[in-house]
Symmetry: C2
Subunit: 537 residues, 2 copies
């Protein structure tokens, strides 16, 4: 079946609610936070920024939807599953599907991007396509610039002769916005440019190392360290090409967050977003995660998580330590400690188990008055929340997000630093066309286990023709449809899964990336032309 046609037939159904593309106050509030860069909250502060948006709300370019279709697709009562109109043009034939929430926010706060990156060393010295962009000059107190070529070994002469400094990579990113969708939109338009720029900075060295490592593949574990063996500089430490790719992703994530911070001085960018990126480069799969989206590997061996959910629950120690070292961050409103139970006044002077920033174990204390404050990390709606509000602990944006009551800044706790895992596709046994990586927002993982998601995808791929380039999108669509479920017959506001349990009321977004094409991507991609042709800029 033609998926694009199927999607469009759903999209064209009449909408009963009244979705709009403009931001409203509702979409900027989450729990009890406010964004002080938003004039509406504090009466006249930077009022000129209110409606000034660098990128209007939209859906991913690769869907090839018109603005009218985008509006029609945002029907909270129908929740149509959207897929790319031209699945064969997706980078590496990756599948994609998305669905809007059941009314939580007017807009779909998930965003995504899928890009082929054509890398060359010289190209890295400027940032293409980003009008306001400038290189971050003094982040963290150390000036970074990229005017010069990297010459780690000191010998510039062999550079151009040994290698054509050019390589292709594919980057899939998913952004789950909160307190508005603006930051997710900007990140979906710009992150790949930061990654490209950082990769280009070190491309020459990186390709050199990669070639060397491949030559020494057999003895790789013991003695193929590029710098030790090739460069033979006594105090040089062991660095592999993989480290340069990781470094490029790490710095690019901070570049992106810094850009948002600077853009906020000009544009209206409330809230923030969680982010996950999958970079396919030189036979390896890099998953960089900063938030609660998740990537899993699905092969005939079963499923394996490629990222760790970074939330107030999993990052308790980091968040508590920050509050310990900078007590002013939680003022007198919160208690830094975690308690074994919710404390009330009747617990005063009784003993309770607790743990502090340095503890994996639990110890005992007598409940004092200050223990009755809400804890730094609390639970509401079955989710651990930071400062009583936000449910993620990493991502982009949130630079001006404050708690409403004591105006505590949320940002110091949120971090744009990604955790990165690397999967070497060369190390894997023969890849089949049913081996994939699933990347999805928490809307999916809230209701599907890794194993359930793996089974659904394997089932879809098992029943589709291997020559059909839309089969991975069909798998993504089946995943999204399973997590969204169906409307209950008696209650149109209730969504239930096939199993009978609650379906996901959140925005749901899914990539299904076939490993076969990651290991050996086609050399010429149609997408590049299309990107240019259809660019919104």
């Amino acid at each position: 079946m033609d998926i694009a046609a199927r999607v469009m037939s759903v999209v064209s159904r009449t909408s009963t609610s009244e979705p709009t593309t403009s931001n409203t106050l509702n979409s900027q509030k989450i729990g009890k936070v406010m964004d002080v860069s938003d004039g509406a909250f504090i009466g006249g502060f930077i009022p000129s920024l209110i409606e000034k948006q660098r990128y209007p709300y939209s859906r991913p370019e690769f869907l090839y939807f018109s603005e009218e279709e985008i509006i029609l697709s945002s029907d909270h009562s129908i929740r149509p599953v959207l897929c790319p109109r031209l699945p064969h043009r997706m980078p590496l034939y990756a599948g994609y599907a998305e669905v809007i929430n059941a009314g939580k926010t007017i807009q779909n706060e998930d965003q995504s991007s899928a890009k082929m990156l054509v890398l060359s060393q010289h190209q890295g010295t400027e940032m293409n396509g980003l009008s306001d962009e400038k290189k971050v000059e003094s982040r963290n107190g150390s000036e970074i610039d990229d005017e010069q070529m990297l010459t780690p070994g000191g010998d510039e002469s062999e550079k151009s002769s040994l290698f054509a400094p050019r390589a292709d990579a594919a980057l899939f990113s998913l952004f789950d916005g909160h307190a508005g969708s603006a930051v997710a939109v900007v990140a979906s338009k710009c992150l790949h440019e930061h990654v490209k720029s950082r990769l280009c900075e070190v491309l020459d060295t990186l390709l050199h190392m990669d070639r060397y490592e491949n030559l020494n593949f057999g003895k790789r574990r013991s003695e193929s360290s590029y710098s030790m063996s090739k460069m033979n500089e006594e105090d040089e430490c062991q660095i592999h090409s993989e480290h340069l790719v990781k470094g490029a992703l790490e710095t690019a994530f901070l570049d992106m967050d810094e850009q948002i911070s600077q853009d906020k001085q000009v544009w209206r960018l409330p809230g923030g977003c969680a982010v996950i990126s999958v970079l396919v480069f030189l036979g390896k799969l890099y998953v960089a995660n900063a938030g609660d989206c998740r990537a899993i590997l699905v092969t005939s061996d079963g499923t394996k998580a490629l990222s760790r959910d970074l939330t107030p629950a999993s990052e308790r120690k980091r968040l508590q330590e920050l509050a310990y070292r900078n007590p002013e961050l939680i003022g007198n409103s919160f208690s830094r400690l975690e308690y074994s139970k919710k404390l009330t006044r009747s617990d005063l002077k009784s003993r309770v188990l607790y743990r502090d920033w340095f503890m994996d174990g639990w110890a005992v204390k007598t409940v004092k008055e200050f223990d009755l404050r809400p804890p730094l990390i609390s639970e509401s709606s079955r989710k651990k929340r930071l400062l009583n509000t936000i449910g993620v602990s990493r991502g982009f944006g949130d630079h001006h997000l404050l708690t409403v009551d004591e105006r505590l800044n949320i940002k110091p706790f949120l971090s744009a630093v990604p955790e990165i895992t690397v999967t070497n596709l060369r190390d894997m046994n023969t890849l089949t066309d049913k081996d994939v990586v699933i990347v999805a927002s928490d809307g999916l993982w809230d209701v599907l286990s890794n194993e359930d998601a793996g089974l659904i995808v394997r089932s879809t791929l098992g029943s589709t023709d291997s020559a059909d380039s839309s089969r991975y999108t069909q798998a993504a669509q089946d995943l999204v449809a399973a997590a969204r479920g169906q409307q209950a017959s008696g209650n149109l506001k209730r969504w239930i899964m096939n199993s009978g349990g609650h379906a996901s009321y959140d925005d749901i977004t899914v990539f299904v990336i076939p490993l076969k094409y990651c290991a050996a991507p086609p050399t010429n991609f149609e997408e590049e032309e299309d990107d240019e042709m259809l660019s919104l800029e």
Copy 2:
């Protein structure tokens, strides 16, 4: 062979150097640090503390050595291997051996302790045997006290009826001092009391949980959570007995460091020490590590590390992040970044790979003037060092240690927080009398691999009678002798191993703990009486 006799015959050989038990200035200096609580450095500051020591320098009580023997044993030119005079009285028949360094410091800066802990809930409310001790009241801003019984489920009545609130544990600790031995000595006298006190605080609940978990042993993975099932309080989180033991160790380590900080106001306590503790309790083995000592498991399956060396190398990100958040800690003397090579003035304006606090990967930058400062973590004598001086990043003490040049405080970087691993002896297949845990200071691990150490121990145990209670001490002795090596014939200052390589010039200390007695310890221990009889206090 009678080990005690063997050791004493070595000890009684004439000493050629002139060891002394009094501290000298040399022993308080390491690299370029000074201790500002030491009057000699800053002319008259707290001069009354200079010779005031709470515990004089000595060797572990369980060696049963006279003061004269201790002096004779400290011969740097002979380096006799010392073992307990009465190996059968060691807790759990653990083996032990030590040797002094080859002249690095006058005293042996390694210290150790081995104790049986008799625990009962009420006993925990006072700290026995520590004259100056008082409970830490307001560490980290949260007041902890222990006047009351813990009643997590609210039902106090069943407490004494269900359980005799008493249990035995064994604690082996090893302390590797730096910039003096005073802190290592104090810690060896006091740490076990802090651990005991913290365990007693939660003993009742802990035994309750342990009993419950054992009843549910078969279904342990899924549903034996004590608090969820037994206490049935809806907002109670899942806590197991293991978590309470870990919490007791974690808080006890900080208690110990806090005690040293307070003792420093009265006593002379220069420098600090790395520390590792092995707690054997309720069928589990807890290894709490804060420094570069190491514990490994040796079974017929081979060796397995039970701790991770915590050094400036392994803790780079933590140390860099601290300097990033508090730049004043490194002033203008150091650069926070790690570089791929040692930079000199000729590298100015060239490009270099670097990594910062948030990076596992490497990125590129142009070398600026401030990059020429020595890095926060540098390498000297084939060891990564913090602030150009100290080679460990965790442990006790160092509260007044400053760099000599810019008087930067070392302490904020050093942490007393332990990393803890847990080994469940119940989960292990049948234990034999050749299965052991080796705990040793870096003096051993600098020259022996985990595998080498395992082979030496298995070899010794394979050739000794299983009825000989001194065989584990003999194994420890063989380990120490292997690492110390022999004096080169032509050069008495050179120590070489059997392999021909450099032997260890450092202090070397080793415990060999038999797992068989950890899993099922004898119920009555002779040591308790002896401890009292021979106590130095």
